[in-house]
């Protein structure tokens, strides 16, 4: 998960990497006050969990505290890639002589940690790679290999750092690699690393993203609240609720509520709905081996979402069993009730037991099942997806 710039910079500074003097503000008044305290020109940087904020007008410069006030006001009214600006990082404005790029990332295909440096900073590394591949220098390391000082100094040398700054920049590269390892990061990037006019080296902007699945080893990151974020953007209320229930869930724009089993089919199922002329209202995954209670909660999320007009359900029991699936659906029907049409298909591990559970519940309470169509292995899943689109269209009218 991605950290905000101010969070990443705080970590860098704790590791001894120089960052600009700065403060996080949440109101325009604070912007004015802090600019007054600094007695310098400042830069106001919108804090959002996404790239490309500069191009979207999310960064502003201010010469005076009054300008800081009005710029902050503008930024707080802005939405960048759909994300509202709620926090601004107000930094002293640096006088820049030269910009560099340094970063540590993961090469998944070659199973390497890659330390990267470039004499071109301030633009995205992908862009540098396209335009000036010769200006990118890299060292690939295995997970259990060490980055030596001489290698870090060598990288600094290769991107044209002057001898007088080789140790400073080399040590920043080394530190960056250390904190990458320390935090189970996926990416740590200083872009740009700046040489100021008065010959100081400062991390002007920083980006950091950590491995969600290693958070259990980093309670300090959990405390920052990073687990309730996407890689890009914060979660919606419904997404947070799902997260508390342990259900991977995303809100989307359409009208077909998605109740699939398995993430892979969850992703593909959303494509199918699109191919057949509908739009999914959500993405959802039950995770491996969900309990009946969790399955019932999944349906609650969909039934209570006013955007959902019909529900598409699919279960191919692998690690998750069909009997549990059927139990979950029945719990939901009894305790919550279904207010929209639903079509579902169930097969795989324990499908017979699942079917028996449905039949018994239906015999006891036929009215609970009036909105549901249940299919088995005999019906291709494509037909179920088409039917869900049809039901949603009908309900919309």
């Amino acid at each position: 998960m991605r950290l905000y710039e101010f969070e990443a910079k705080k970590i860098l500074s704790e590791f001894g990497i120089p960052v600009p003097q700065g403060k996080v503000i949440t109101s325009s008044e604070q912007a004015k006050r802090f600019a007054e305290d600094l007695k310098k020109p400042v830069v106001l940087k919108s804090q959002i969990l996404s790239g490309g904020r500069g191009k979207a007008g999310g960064i502003k410069f201010a010469q005076t505290p009054d300008e800081a006030y009005s710029s902050a006001k503008e930024l707080f009214s802005l939405k960048i890639k759909g994300f509202p600006v709620e926090k601004i990082l107000l930094d002293e404005r640096l006088e820049i002589e030269k910009e560099y790029y340094i970063g540590v990332t993961l090469d998944r295909l070659n199973y390497k940690i890659v330390v990267i440096a470039s004499s071109e900073g301030g633009v995205e590394i992908e862009e540098i790679a396209k335009k000036h591949p010769e200006k990118i220098k890299k060292i690939g390391l295995d997970i259990d290999e060490k980055l030596f000082s001489f290698q870090a100094f060598g990288l600094a040398k290769m991107i044209g750092i002057e001898s007088s700054d080789i140790r400073t920049v080399g040590n920043i590269i080394l530190t960056l690699w250390k904190l990458y390892k320390r935090y189970d990061a996926k990416l740590v990037e200083i872009n740009p690393l700046v040489l100021t006019k008065d010959k100081k080296i400062v991390a002007c902007d920083a980006r950091m993203s950590v491995d969600d699945d290693s958070l259990f080893r980093h309670p300090e990151l959990e405390k920052m609240g990073v687990e309730k974020r996407h890689e890009e953007g914060e979660m919606t209320q419904r997404e947070k609720k799902a997260k508390e229930w342990g259900i991977p869930y995303l809100d989307l724009d359409g009208e077909v509520g998605m109740f699939p089993g398995g993430a892979g089919f969850g992703i593909m199922g959303n494509d199918f709905i699109n191919y057949f002329g509908g739009k999914p209202a959500n993405f959802m995954d039950s995770g491996g081996g969900p309990t009946p209670e969790r399955l019932a909660q999944m349906l609650v999320l969909l039934d209570e979402n006013p955007k959902v007009k019909a529900i598409f359900g699919a279960r191919f029991g692998g690690i998750s069993r069909c009997d549990d699936f059927a139990k979950g659906v029945v719990i939901f029907l009894k305790e919550h009730g279904l207010s929209k049409p639903m079509v579902l298909r169930m097969t795989g591990n324990m499908w017979k037991q699942g079917l028996e559970i449905f039949e018994k519940a239906k015999k006891d309470n036929p009215e609970l099942f009036k909105n549901i169509e249940i299919h088995g292995i005999g019906t291709p899943i494509e037909d179920i997806a088409k039917r869900a689109v049809e039901l949603a269209k009908k309900a919309k009218k």
């Binding site: 892979g264 199918f272 993405f283 690690i319």
Partner: protein, 288 residues
């Protein structure tokens, strides 16, 4: 013939005394998988379904010549378990749990390469050679022996593809779950190369999804292959920057969109299927 596993594979279950270890051991046994024992440190000497439980993998290898392991343990114990199996000489390690920390997987992969082992997963549904052995969590109802190999990042999609191949009479040679985690023990390239060498396999279905670069990199391998590859990739309509269930299923920056994967696979010469029903259509046209 089959790839990676067959009826002779001697399988152990790491975490056999746990709830899901026990549940799936019973299922695998019923299928005919040759499970020889299981491990659970501290519970050596117990029995599960008449199978001996050992404290260490080394004992399973020494006493029963075990060569394959399937892990049913929480993610944070997988590093230890997988490396224990690799050091003990297990040739194939199947990592069923999901959300394995990336750094752990990097180390597992490195040790596996060093010791000549293959690791499948994390977050794999396992590997099945229908009619011979079923290792992992795949529901046997979907599978039948046949001539199409499948390799997929998703368990549920493996079932749908197999179900389609079964209903249309093609059947499957071996189905390999590559896994849904961001860093995987094996790559599409490696599995495709095994299928290319396998006599029983006449065509391969590759199922990918958003995130990572394993599909893009498969292009070069597919180009060199004689056997046809049919590819399907999930997430054409996926949002940017949001993880979709699988830890590895996320479009980050320009990397890993379904469109970039489909383009690469097509350039490599793969036949693209949009839905499951397209697969038998393509096979028919190829006269497989």
């Amino acid at each position: 013939m089959a790839i990676l596993v067959d009826k002779k594979s001697k399988v152990i279950v790491q975490g056999i005394t746990g709830t899901s270890g026990r549940f799936h051991t019973e299922r695998m046994l019923k299928y005919g998988t040759k499970i020889v024992s299981g491990t659970s440190p501290g519970k050596g000497g117990q029995k599960v379904f008449d199978l001996p439980v050992y404290d260490t993998v080394e004992e399973c290898v020494k006493n029963q010549n075990a060569d394959t392991s399937v892990i049913f343990l929480p993610a944070k114990f997988v590093l230890e378990a997988a490396i224990e199996a690799i050091y003990a000489g297990i040739k194939l390690v199947v990592v069923v749990p999901e959300h394995i920390p990336i750094f752990d997987m990097l180390l597992i992969r490195k040790e596996a390469k060093k010791h000549g082992s293959t690791v499948i997963g994390g977050n794999t549904a396992g590997i099945i050679t229908p009619g011979e052995t079923n290792i992992g969590i795949m529901p046997d109802i979907a599978f039948s022996p046949g001539r199409v190999g499948t390799v997929s990042r998703s368990g549920s999609l493996t079932y749908y593809v197999a179900d389609t191949l079964t209903r249309t009479g093609y059947g499957e040679s071996t189905c390999v779950g590559l896994g849904g985690d961001p860093v995987l023990g094996s790559t599409f390239n490696e599995i495709l190369s095994l299928f290319e060498e396998d006599e029983k396999t006449k065509a391969i279905v590759l199922v990918g999804e958003i995130g990572g670069v394993y599909e893009e990199k498969a292009k070069e391998t597919i180009k060199k292959m004689k056997k046809p590859v049919i590819a399907m990739v999930g997430g054409v309509f996926a949002p940017q920057g949001k993880r979709m269930g699988h830890a590895g299923a996320i479009v980050e920056g320009e990397m890993g969109t379904a469109r970039s994967k489909l383009k690469a696979l097509e350039q490599g010469g793969a036949h693209i299927a949009k839905t499951f029903l397209d697969i038998p259509e393509i096979l028919r046209k190829l006269r497989i």
